[in-house]
Structure formats: structure tokens, C-alpha cells
Subunit: 500 residues, 2 copies
Amino acid sequence: MSSIPQQSTLPLSSAPQLSYHHSDANIQGLINDIQTRGEDIKWTSEPTTCTSRSSTRHSPASGDQVPKAVFWPKNTGQVAEILRACWERRIAVSSYSGGTSLGGALTASRAGICIDFSSMNEIGEVWEDDAMVSVQPGVGWMELNEKLERDGTGLFWPVDPAPGAKVGGMIAMSCSGTNAYRYGTVKNWIISLTLVLADGTIVKTRNRPKKSSAGYDLNALITGSEGTLALITTAILKLAPLPTNLHVGLSTFPSLQHGLSTALALLKTSALSLEAIELADQNALTAIQTSSLAPGRQWSQTPTLFLKFSGASQEAVSSQIALTSAVCEANSGTPLEASSSQAFIATVWGGRKCLGNALVGMKRAPSDLFLTTDAAVPSSQVARLAEESARIVREECAGEEEGWFCASVAHVGDGNVHTAIVCGEGEGARAEKVVRGIQRVALALEGTATGEHGVGLKLRDLLEEEVGKEGVDLMRNIKFALDPRGILNPDKVVRLKEGF
Amino acid sequence: MSSIPQQSTLPLSSAPQLSYHHSDANIQGLINDIQTRGEDIKWTSEPTTCTSRSSTRHSPASGDQVPKAVFWPKNTGQVAEILRACWERRIAVSSYSGGTSLGGALTASRAGICIDFSSMNEIGEVWEDDAMVSVQPGVGWMELNEKLERDGTGLFWPVDPAPGAKVGGMIAMSCSGTNAYRYGTVKNWIISLTLVLADGTIVKTRNRPKKSSAGYDLNALITGSEGTLALITTAILKLAPLPTNLHVGLSTFPSLQHGLSTALALLKTSALSLEAIELADQNALTAIQTSSLAPGRQWSQTPTLFLKFSGASQEAVSSQIALTSAVCEANSGTPLEASSSQAFIATVWGGRKCLGNALVGMKRAPSDLFLTTDAAVPSSQVARLAEESARIVREECAGEEEGWFCASVAHVGDGNVHTAIVCGEGEGARAEKVVRGIQRVALALEGTATGEHGVGLKLRDLLEEEVGKEGVDLMRNIKFALDPRGILNPDKVVRLKEGF
């Protein structure tokens, strides 16, 4: 029986005490349970697992934040078996698919066990006429799109985060990428989910209608819940027709604000069906030029707008390009360079795509630190956020011999700005303070600290600054309602215990 | 303290007993509370209210299902005052904005009181560069779009349900309309909500970034919750640029399946940016022709596809129209008639838009009954659902002198089919049975009983057939977590008590 006071929200001070039973004996008991039930589930209790890799790569974990066992289930029933046993034994469960997330969502903060979805990587039925596909959570979005192309379906799943990301984690983290301006984020591309809840209950959120008003939107509640409310074991995804007559274009500007003004004018023009619109600042272009990742072009080291167009015909795209070029020039930009040639697309869009690695390449020494932000603001504030970010970095290292490198690139249609910072090995604490300063600027500009990477462990305090204590207390109430023992990815999104 | 057993779901048999205190003295105490707190809130305890109107129109209420008082708050703080007092006094609260919903979501099933949002009808700030607007819940979508047009913003809010619908109710019911294929449903057009929870807590779900991964998606949880989880007191809405070079087109087909095959082919063609795609069956066209609502045209009484196009230029639209016409003809349709002339658009799209009234016009006597369904299936199953629906109606009145009238019109891009049935005054029970049969066919075709109208009181059992007992039990768990006293629009979406 619960001792939670009955209110619409659950303040941390009123949260029930959680207890986890992570003794070696209880973990061994869990392993025995599962074997006894006759489930053929691969497992290990060695620490050299996927999860410690992810901890190392993305979410530095302290020595006691390593799961004591990892399981590789193969289907929904096996995931339910594991969760039922963990629920009974009060064992915390983190989960893992692609391991590309940032911000600590993968950290096994209470140790416990990890469920690795890499054995659940089957692409199921493809309904071509309905533009839908059923997949297991361990399927990568690139693998899925390669299969859809190989099979000549003319369809794709238009969600493009980091290359290694898998469907389960993508949904859990509410991810997106450069396609989000045109197609929306992952939540727009989910038809139905099969979920396993904390106590092992299996729920299928929907049949597969494209549109539904049938009760609370469980798809949307689980999307972005970072493994804290349920584990996703099957997803029916919505697909889009592949764009035709794809062209890429580029224009450069005397200032970031000029580039932004252009973007805002384009975003208001319904006559365009832009596939993507990305704005990079001067230092980002320096990084592209400095790297050898986008050869074949002398990159102008000035603020640059990268665009993708598609349309019914060559003529339909040409009229979009003409219109866009006029808007660029009216805002002091260079005439739009645009082409559908493979070489041009590979070079110019390749420039935008290599940016992540090009920015990391601005490290002067391999031991230098690389940090990145994920704030999102109303689109009109994108230049201000990027410029304030650069100012904060400049002021932090004013008077120092070698300043820090700082560059910004924006998914400008969504107002989502990634500011990259490179600084020396010993500057971690100062750099984190700078990042926090940038995130607070985003909040002051009516934005969020996280447009697409999620809250994890790192942004919990900023979440409270954004949605208030009441907003966080409401989320915590939902968490404890669905997972009263706090076993699913504890401590992520909202705190379950003071000081944790 | 709660006596809810700690699980991830809450079966009806485990739900706590609710008690409402709806004595005249307690209601009078509530009115006194609010007056004492100095809030200038209009109220009445006469039964001739908006809510009884809605009950009469849409949700036939029994004599004891009429609210004992109605309040007209003017701002978030006043709504919070009312809810805090109702929470303390255990008084049930229904809410009302446009009153266009179907299926019983407006019924004051436990009497209690009603909050009417018609005094919260202000359009607040418009951020043109960000394509956003802040509104109170009593604003109508048509008023909003008229203001945006009057102000020359070039923007609109692309959610088009019944003409009288208001923003608060539209969000609460997860509505959509003919624009949903192109623009998505209401949930795609919400940036941020200000909510009042059952106990009076005020939560603002977000600042106003276009994209966010900041915690659980409270916008989406509240959208479609039918007033059972929170009341919406402000919404920041996302706007879209108005389409340019609008054309309307029409093609007719020898069978509904031919029209559907055409639609499916068009939906797979990324080269098109269709603004709308609607499929009506032969009897629907008979209704248009029979009515005098769409004059100026001899309507072919055959299955018909209605289309809207837009684009960057006249040429861009022409290439879409050429492509579409070829697809129609390849599927035995007539060559596409298409034009941007005001007269053609008024006549042809007017034909589609008058359908609701034209179908009601098929009553032979004013006392005849008119029923409509709202099922949604995978798009490929649209013709099958419509044809099965017609068959069920035919079989129900086989051998009778005058058969029932039955016609279907589909938001075919979303797979959402409205089948209208007209039958005699005394045939209510048989007609409800027929409707249930059609809804079950939709479930068998992997669809839902409600694509855009919501669950209300009428579809609770079918919701369980669709998402299983576990799915409903999960929704009930969320309901009781946020509203443990069950005061917000009780009995809608999920049952709170056996037999209610």
C-alpha cells in the first residue's frame, strides 16, 4: 500500500522512500529466476559490457555506477519476464540500444542490471500501401532506411539523429535531427508501441490507424520518457515517401543575423517545401575548411545557410530556388548556389554533415575537452542565442593567451542551436559553468535547455527552471504512479531522492 | 493517504471508492467560498445554462446529469480558485467551451458544477517571426484565423474541426479535420499549455521553443484527455504560412476501391504537396446533389475524390495537377478537373464542406435519427470499411419497405471514415447496434473506433477492445495519480466505478 499523499503533484519531499536490493545474492537470484522459468536469455555478470562502454563514451560513471548484470532478451515476453523478476526483487533496470545519447540517460546510477536490446533487431512487416513498418527496438534508423531502399519501397523513416542511434533509444529520448524542420521529431513518426511497464505488464498502445483520439496518448507519454516509465519492445512506425528532385543550396551572409533573417523569411513562405534548413556561424565554417572532411570546395568562412529542396518536377524545384535566391540576396546574402548534381550534394551537404566531427577536430591536443549544448529557442532568437553564447565563452577566457574555440550550428527551422566549445583538459569545471550560462540564456529567451538530447542526469535542475517546481512535481507524480518502486532507469528526468 | 495498491496499472476492481459531496449546502458553500475570496466570477445556479444546451444537443443527459452551478472565470487564477475549492469540497467539475463535441464528453455525469470558458476568449500576443500565438481556451479557431488574416500576418492555425469549436475543447478532444492529412492533428500545433490540475496547482508545460526534449511531454498527455486530467487556461499555438496558389480538383470513379487506389498512389508520391485529400462514396454524392447546398454543378453520383493543391508558383501547381490527373486516369477515374478560380473552388470544395449538412438533409422526416461513426483504419482498408459499413446497414433492414440511408466520407489520408446513417425515430437501439458493428469492423481492420471525436462516455468499452484491459488500466492509473479524488470530468475516457 502506498503512503503517497493524494495530490495532483508529488514534491520530492513527499516522495516515498525507495529501497533497492542489489546484493550479489539477489542479483544471482534474479539470474536463477530467469533460467528456472526456462527463458533462453543471454546474460553476463562481467563488467565489460555494452553499458560500461556507453558509460565510458557518453556518461562517465563512477565505479559503483556499473550494472551488475546485463541481459539480452529476444522478444517482448522475455523483457516482461525480466521486469517482473526485477520488480519482485526491487532491482533497478537501465536499458541500452544504440548508446549515442548524451547527458547521462544511460548511466546505471544505482547499478542494478541493464537490458541490452541488441538481440531485438528485427525489421518486421512492411505495409507499403499504409506507409508503415513494424520494428524491434534494436533496429538502427540507417539500417531501416537501407532496407526500405533496397526493397524499392520508395519510402523512408525521416528521423535522423546520430548515425548509430536505434529506434528504441530514439523514441525514449524524443530525438530528431536535420530532417525535423520538414518532417517533425520522432513523435510524429510513431503509430503504435508495445510497452513493458515496471511490474512486467505488457501494453500495446494502439492498433495501427494513422490518426486516433482513443484515450490518453500513451505513445506521446512514453516518447521522451528516457526509459523511466516503460521499455519499448516493438514499434509500428509511420513512413514518408522519399523526396524527389532533391537539390541542395547554399548562401553566405555578412552576419549570423542576416542568415537568420533570411531563414525567418523563408520559413514564412508556404510556397517552399524545404527538406532542410540549417544555419552555421563563421567559426563552424572555419572548422569545415580546416578539417579535411569536406574537400573539393573552398569554404567561405562566413555565416552560411544550408538548404535542401524537393518537388514534383525540375521546374517546381527551380521556382523554389529562384524564390529562395531572391530572399537571400534581399538579406545581403550571396546568390543561392544550388544543384541536384551528386557531386555538389556530396560536397555541400557533406560540409554540413561533417560538422560534428569537424568541430571535434578543432581540439588543439587530443586531451582537450569538447562540449556541446542543445538549447532551443523561438526561431527569431537563434542569432541572439548563438552570439550570447560566443560572448560568454569570450568573457570566460578574456586575457588568456589562447582563447577557447566556440562555434554554433542551428537547426534554424526548429530554433535548436548546438554550440560547441573546445577547451583544455583541466578546464572541465569552467566549461560546464559556461555551458550552464548558455542554457540559462536560452531559458531567458523563452526556450529550453534541450531541444533533442533529453534531460538525463545533467539537466534536471534546468528542467525545474523551465517548467517550475510544479511541472517537475507533476512529472514525478506520473513516474511514481507507473513505477512506484522506482526500478526503471531511476534518477533520470526527475529526482526520486534528495541529493541523488 | 492512498489505499491504491502499488502496481503500474490500476484495474477498476482496485480503484479507490470516490465520494462526491453535491448537496445544495455544499454547492452553496462553494459559491460562498469564491465570493469570500474576492474573486469577481460570474456564476449561476439556474439550470438553463450552456451545459444543459450541450447536453441537449450532443449528450442527452438524464435529469440528474445537469450541473448544479456554472461558473465563468476570466483567467488562470480564477480557474485555480474554483478547482481548489471543488477539490476541498469534493465537487465534480465538467467544462465547456464550444460544445461541438460528440460522444458524451460534455455530460455532467455526476452533476457537480461546470466551468464555462466563454469569458476566457482573448487572443493574446502574436509572434509573427516565430509563427506563434497565445490564446485563451474560449477562442474559436475560425475567429483566430479571421484575426490572423485581418492583421495580414500570412499565417493561420491549420486545425479545422466543426465551425463552432474552441481551442480549449479542441485540445481536450484531440481534434482534427480535412486539413489533418497535410498538417497533422491539433497535437502538432501546440507549443505550450498553462494547466490547472485537479487540486488547483498551476503548471506551465513549456516556454515556447518549437522543439523540446525537456521531460515528459505534458502537452501531449493533456491533449485528448477530455478534461479528465487538467483544465487548459492558456495555449501557445504554432501557426503555419497560408498556402499559396491554391487549386481545388475533383475526379470521379467507377467504385470506391478505384478512388482509394488512386488516393494510395497519390499518398506515396512525395512530389505532391496536397493540402487535402477526401474520398466520398456514391450515396454521399447523392446527398450533395439532392441538397441545394452546393448549387452550380450537376454532381456525378459516383465515388469522388476531392483534392486541394498549393505550391510555389502556378507552374509548380500545374505539374502536380498533371501528375495527379495521370494517376486518376490510370485508376479508371475521370481526368482531374482542377482550377484556382474562386467560383470553381466555392462550388467544388463547397460540395465537400456541405456534406455534413447534406447528409443530415437525407432525413425523410424531421423526427428521423441521424448517426455518424468516426472510425479510423490503415488507409489501405478505407474502402473495405466503407463497404462493410454499407453491407451491415443493408442487412439490418433487409426486407423492410424503406431501407435506411447510409453514406461514407473519408479523410482518406488519415484513414478516418465517417459513415452517416439515417433511420426512423423508433430505430435508435437498432441503429446504435449497427454503429457498434461498424466500429468493431474497424477494430478488426487494425483501426480505432475514434479517429478524431474522442472516447467520452460512449466508446469506453471499445477502447478496452482496442488497447486491452491493461491499456485502459494504465490510463486509469494516470487518471487517479493526477486526480485522486476523481473530480475532473469523471467517468469520461475510463470508468472510475463499476457500472458508471
